[in-house]
């Protein structure tokens, strides 16, 4: 009886593992392609939502080399303080840099709100894009999730660092009714991201 128990559990586990690895292998290329495609669409939405042809590059080597050398000169802790969490550069069709997109994780009501922020070269916001609930947004359904509504995201476009504050805090942005905490998180996250990016630009200028 004992042997039978061990055998049947082992067989079920093995079958399940084989089946799953087969399904994983067959679906993986499509899933990866889908993820990469989505990231690109998200970056494009954030960089210049209504603009001309351009390319969002994740493989801009010169940019990353400059980045790495900066990390070495100023140390990791300082680097993390001045650089937004993840950064992509936006290139036009000739390969000239015309903006950047970075990702910040401000703390909202239910957890961190993963937000992409696009900036032009003169550090004016070109667009923002918080993650959707399917991508891990944990704000209250029907309330905090309204940070995804187009009117809320649109009001960030064209704003400078100092204007990215809720009206309640002395800025120019309307908050969502009954979701001030989520609205404030996105606004402050975007502004802090710009501040850190500007610090990075100053460091770069000194070098």
């Amino acid at each position: 009886m004992k042997l039978r128990m061990i055998l049947s559990l082992t067989i079920v586990c093995l079958l399940s593992a084989f089946l799953l690895s087969w399904v994983y292998k067959t679906t993986e290329p499509k899933i990866e392609k889908d993820k990469a495609g989505k990231l690109k669409i998200h970056l494009m939405e954030t960089a210049f939502p209504d603009a001309f042809e351009y390319e969002v590059s994740t493989k801009d080597t010169t940019f990353w080399i400059a980045y790495d050398s900066l990390k070495k000169t100023i140390g990791k802790a300082k680097f993390e303080e001045i650089i937004p969490d993840t950064l992509w550069s936006v290139l036009d069709t000739l390969g000239e840099q015309i903006g950047i997109v970075f990702k910040v994780y401000p703390k909202g009501y239910g957890g961190p709100i993963e937000t992409l922020v696009g900036l032009s070269m003169d550090t004016i916001i070109t667009g923002i894009r918080p993650a959707t609930p399917a991508e891990g947004l944990k704000e209250t359904p029907g309330l905090g999730v309204k940070i995804l509504e187009p009117w809320f995201k649109r009001q960030f476009i064209g704003k400078k660092e100092k204007e990215v504050l809720l009206k309640k805090d002395g800025g120019t942005l309307d908050a969502i009714t009954a979701s001030t905490k989520s609205s404030r998180a996105v606004a402050n996250g975007a502004r802090e991201g710009i501040e850190r990016y500007k610090k990075y630009l100053r460091y770069q200028a000194i070098e």
């Binding site: 128990m5 079920v12 399917a134 359904p141 009954a178």
Partner: protein, 197 residues
């Protein structure tokens, strides 16, 4: 035999009568669309796991049946997660967050233990389908009621006028609203059943 199918819908409704799967019913019913998505995901996994478990019921030794059930259920959930993502990225965007939640839905393990491990393949299929539909009806009702009162919308379209949609009963889409609605649904079903006796 057909009664195995209809039982899950009213008489033995998994949520309101058997009190199974209360957690997803309360958590994923803030909008009608989310609720429907959760319901469809549960139907799919419940039917497949019921069929498999019923087919294997004579091979699985009694003392280790629960771990075997759990492996089978989570295998189906994972397969569904991958396939859905590969087949349609839009559908995955809408349903993706609910798929992993299906594995902890106790209706599925409950039916595997109470029904599929003791009945034939076809009756287990009917039971799974009936229970799944019963679950979907209730979670969809909850979602619709909570969305209408809590956001003034249904499937994202404004009803009850724009004034209401601007200041709806936010309480209804917060957790306490879920408990309130499910209590009314349970009371309503009991009242209906006692009256028809």
């Amino acid at each position: 035999m057909f009664k195995h199918f209809t039982e899950g819908i009213i008489k033995n409704n998994p949520v309101l009568v058997l009190m199974l799967g209360l957690c997803p019913t309360l958590a994923v019913s803030t909008t009608a669309l989310d609720a429907l998505g959760m319901g469809v995901a549960v139907i799919f996994v419940l039917v497949l796991s019921n069929i498999t478990i019923s087919a294997l019921r004579k091979v699985i030794p009694e003392p280790i049946r629960i771990p075997v059930f759990i492996i089978i259920i989570s295998t189906f959930v994972t397969i569904m997660d991958f396939t859905l993502h590969a087949l349609s990225s839009e559908l995955y965007g809408a349903l993706g967050i609910f798929v992993p939640l299906v594995v902890v839905n106790c209706i599925i393990l409950g039916r595997a233990e109470a029904f599929a491990s003791k009945h034939g393949i076809f009756t287990s299929f009917l039971d799974g389908l009936g229970m799944g539909i019963g679950f979907t009806i209730i979670i969809f009702l909850m979602g619709a009621i909570r969305e209408i009162l809590g956001s003034g919308k249904i499937f994202g379209n404004i009803i009850l006028g724009t004034t209401f949609a601007e200041s709806p009963v936010i309480y209804m889409i917060l957790p306490p609203g879920g408990f309130l609605v499910i209590a009314f649904l349970m009371g309503g079903l009991n009242w209906f059943q006692q009256r028809s006796k």
